[in-house]
Amino acid sequence: MTLNRRDFVTTTIGLAASLAAPMVMAAGKPRVVVIGGGAGGATAARHLAEASKGALDVTLVEPTRKYYTCFFSNLYLGGFQEFAALGHTYGKLAADFGVNVVHDWAVGIDRDAKTVSLAGGGTLPYDRLILSPGIDFVDGAVPGWDITAQNAMPHAYKAGSQTQLLKAQIEAMPAGGVYAMIAPPNPFRCPPGPYERISMVAHRLKQINPTAKILIVDPKEKFSKQALFEDGWMRHYGGMVERVGPDFGAANTSVDPAAMTVDIDGEVTKVDVCNVIPAQKAGRICETAGITDGNWVPVNPHTMQARADENIHVLGDASAQGDMPKSGFSANSQAKVAVMAVRGALTDSRVFPAKYSNTCWSLLGTDDGVKVGAAYEATDEKIASVESFISQTGEDAALRKQTYEESLGWYAGITADMFG
């Protein structure tokens, strides 16, 4: 039997009001459902529950019990981080902040009824929904590759067993073997991510397989922090890294996972490891909800509300917001704006102008860290960059080491901010 608010009030007439009041309030609390417990979703759930001090009913839907961060997963490939240190659980969100954590997949969203249906069969009603499901891959983006080939040719672009698999394959390469990366076209998760990965793979190979070669097949003309990366590769791993760009046919590439070959514009190369990072789109649940335009979900820059539905806020990689890169830092920053907007709409808390920022650190080699960052503000059309900075080539070793140490501080900071 369920007891709804009206039944309860009518059947308790004449009973002590002091007894009835807390129950009525609990049943009447505004409900927020968050889908996805990653950089955007975990941050949003934690801060919603913490700041509203019990005034909101916050439910987080996330299938996995342990979230492995993509950020710093490249450092694991390079041997700078333990795998276990990348994993984070949801225990504190539940115990310390009172978030209802539901380990399940969201499989449907009924925007008229304002409910979310779960793979396990349940239904969750919401007053506001926050979606931060991250990315999925565009089908057929790299001819010859699909998700069933991910064991032969891992993407390692969602962290966890894929990352471990890629590391094992790199370490098992024959002497003088070839690691190939098929880099993704824009826009994609973490613009410097593939290139930081190259640095870390090179670092590891230099230790265990110094005659190995690294081949980047890149459909883009240029990439994030390019001058810094190329300078770092030259200094640390001279001669090991080769990049084939679109001028040499990289945009016309296919793979054969059974034969372990890469075909670049008709020229077939046999490789030992093939890290395919396909083109990306918003997590599938966004399409299911019918709020995407093309591959991503357009949002209102002031609040992160989907343009197609003001009851749904979309954070992180899945959103099309303007100038911010798809990063964990950005998702975390956007979550804070959304939390403020949701609290303002559902409780009487104050609303302030949106402020966003991002900084992405990358490690080039031992104690050689660089960073790029920007501050953003909301205009009516988009989240617009207002100021930015980037590390310079030729910085001295002390500054680079300090930059790396800062990134360790940031990792500790953002994970504490997400998971408590």
């Binding site: 700041a51 920053s333 104050r350 920007a374 501050a375 100021e387 500054l399 360790l408 501080g409 504490a416």
Partner: protein, 239 residues
């Protein structure tokens, strides 16, 4: 003393003459080195300068102009000063001037326990004195610190501004991606439980780009006086 009086006479002379002379005069000298030698006694309790100068409580100050912060191998600097050096803090005139005015504005965690020199003239004079101990004083690019117009000493109403804690809490959410709420300082310094004034002065020093560090210059650059006050109020209350 004599030179000093000459400067004030110049300043008081006919407007036309002043306009013609001023740039040359300002570029020529920071202050009065002779008078600076006397003010330097305040520093001498901790610092040596000149032939055979050694590190004492503080590092020796020979060749301080153009020297990177925390650059002497044999001296144990504070973590904060070493961080500032790695960030790229170079002891140029405007930085020295700011550090002597309020050491904590530029390097909050500095070990130099010295209250600072409020008087602009006194600072200029002691710096003019220190300049004479540089390898090539002539090569030191000079400009009057006043021309740089950094105001480390904030107006009392800015320092006393009462922060809006609610707003501070929202603004702080941006800071907590990097700085830890629990006051841990691994890799990134802790900013909880600071004295209000130290916090405000440090944020203004980043905003004025006096204090190096691209992330913090950017973060502080978009904050108004009210927002800095709100953040100071929020973080001071943590811990």
């Amino acid at each position: 003393m004599l030179k000093r009086r000459k400067r004030s006479i110049l300043a008081g002379s006919a407007l036309l003459a002043w306009a013609a002379f001023a740039p040359a005069v300002m570029a020529e000298r920071i202050g009065d080195a002779e008078r600076g030698a006397e003010i330097y006694r305040k520093c001498a309790a901790c610092h040596m300068v000149g032939a055979q100068a050694k590190n004492r409580i503080g590092p020796h100050l020979n060749g301080i102009f153009g020297r990177k912060a925390a650059a002497l191998d044999g001296f144990r600097y504070s973590d904060a000063m070493r961080r500032a050096g790695a960030d790229g803090l170079i002891w140029e005139l405007d930085k020295l001037d700011a550090y002597l005015e309020n050491p904590k504005a530029l390097v909050t965690g500095t070990r130099m326990s010295f209250a600072g020199i409020r008087s602009l003239d006194d600072r200029h004079d002691v710096l003019a004195y220190l300049r004479t101990f540089s390898d090539k004083p002539r090569d030191i690019p000079e400009a009057s610190p006043t021309a740089v117009a950094h105001e480390v000493a904030l107006a009392p109403e800015v320092l006393a501004m009462a922060g809006d804690r609610d707003y501070g809490e929202y603004l702080s959410s941006e800071c907590l991606t990097c700085h830890r709420k629990d006051g841990s300082d691994r890799g990134i310094p802790a900013i909880t439980g600071w004295r209000n004034e130290d916090f405000v002065v440090a944020m203004h020093a980043y905003r004025q780009k006096l204090r190096p560090h691209p992330v913090m210059q950017m973060m502080a650059g978009r904050l108004s006086d009210e927002e800095i006050a709100a953040l100071a109020a929020y973080f001071a209350a943590l811990e």
